[in-house]
């Protein structure tokens, strides 16, 4: 192989790489838009957004709530840091346009916004409430 052919080979590779770099982000954005995740009510603390750093929560939130679930159910431990109720209270907020809490069926609901994107089916809400405790539209008989 001559020196020129090696050079042209390398050059071609660079050109392809450059073209791909230009094309791919555009294609990706058009094909799979990132989920629009609703904003929570407040930050956990001045230095931390959620009860654990966000990458940790994105990856492992289910482990935290699963662990807490068993503690609450069987031992009556009712701390709020990792409780599903507290997640909902902070993350599910009224739509400013309609003044209503979003339905779990829609992508405006915090949990569903990402779970529909990731195609991960959850059955938490077959039993658990999808709206914060202060929601006034619960059964007309139920108070608090």
């Amino acid at each position: 192989m001559t020196t020129t052919s090696i050079l042209s080979h390398a050059l071609r590779r660079w050109v392809w790489a450059g073209l791909l770099a230009l094309l791919v982000p555009g294609l990706a954005a058009a094909a799979t838009p990132l989920p629009k995740i609703p904003k929570p009510r407040a930050k956990f603390s001045a230095t931390q957004d959620c009860v654990q750093p966000i990458p940790e929560m994105r990856r492992n939130h289910m482990k935290y709530i699963l662990h807490h679930r068993d503690e609450t159910m069987h031992q009556g431990i009712r701390t709020t840091r990792y409780s599903l109720k507290a997640c909902i209270n902070c993350h599910v907020q009224k739509d400013p346009k309609t003044g209503e809490y979003p339905s779990i069926e829609t992508k405006d609901h915090f949990c569903n916004s990402c779970h529909s994107y990731a195609a991960v089916h959850i059955d938490c809400f077959q039993c658990h409430s999808t709206r914060p405790v202060e929601y006034k539209g619960y059964h007309p008989l139920a108070r608090r």
């Binding site: 503690e71 031992q75 009556g76 339905s103 039993c127 658990h128 409430s129 709206r131 008989l141 139920a142």
Partner: protein
């Protein structure tokens, strides 16, 4: 080996001394635990045993305030009528055939110390909490309903219908395909401790009958223990030896 035994003995001695020092401040002065709600981060313990005393002399025939109170607190709605609706508490009319004397009483989960429902549960979903409250962990309930068969008090219900988002309340998660029963309003007990009043008792008191006394059976100073010590009470089907948390007076 010897060293291990030695540390164990030391640990025991340290704990025992601590415990005695905690109890006795001065000769003749013993600290009493004040009834208060358990901190949220502490597990429930067998130091308490929650129970309820129901005075059937105060319970009115035809009154279902307790049932309505329960329905309200736990947001139990009717779907397709009484054959399949959930029922955590019901009113029962009892009549003595010989004398004709009749009275009514509320019947619900009796929160047995030895619950047959928990014995037969194949998944461990039915269980008795350390403080005596018998619950269903719906996360692991498979809806087989063995517990409903085993319960001598017909206290449990199966959820036949979908419970939609409009019916859910955050303090009582309920869902189709699982078994449920009276929880002694565990959400209130965990929040208020010995001062808790289950919804049925609250509704009964609000109606002016005050037939329920909720409290700690292990605490000799609680109202329930004092009333039990003074007047006694009956366990329904005491012959089964289940050691019930719900006691009745006047039956």
């Amino acid at each position: 080996m010897e060293k291990e035994a030695d540390t164990a003995r030391r640990r025991f001695l340290a704990r025992a001394t601590g415990a005695i020092a905690g109890m006795v401040v001065a000769p003749g002065v013993i600290l009493q635990q004040v009834a208060r709600a358990k901190p949220a981060d502490e597990p429930v313990t067998s130091a308490q045993r929650w129970g309820m005393l129901i005075d059937t002399n105060k319970c009115q025939k035809g009154c279902d305030a307790c049932v309505q109170g329960c329905v309200k607190e736990n947001n139990i709605r009717s779907h397709y009528g009484p054959a399949t609706d959930s029922q955590w508490i019901r009113k029962v009319e009892v009549r003595d055939r010989n004398s004709g004397h009749s009275f009514s009483l509320p019947m619900m989960c009796q929160h047995c110390a030895h619950p047959p429902c928990a014995d037969v549960c194949p998944t461990g979903a039915s269980f008795r909490r350390a403080d005596g409250i018998v619950l269903v962990d719906r996360h692991i309930c498979i809806g087989c309903r063995y517990c409903m068969m085993a319960c001598p008090y017909k206290a449990r219900s199966f959820v036949h219908e979908d419970i939609g988002p409009e019916e859910h309340v955050p303090w009582v998660p309920r869902g189709k395909g699982t078994v449920e029963a009276c929880t002694l309003c565990v959400q209130r007990v965990d929040r208020d401790g010995a001062n808790a009043v289950p919804a049925c008792a609250e509704a009964c008191a609000a109606d002016g009958h005050d037939a329920f006394v909720f409290g700690d059976l292990n605490d000799p100073n609680s109202r329930i223990s004092q009333e039990l010590a003074k007047h006694g009470a009956t366990e329904i089907r005491a012959d089964l030896g289940l050691d019930l948390g719900i006691r009745y007076r006047g039956i």
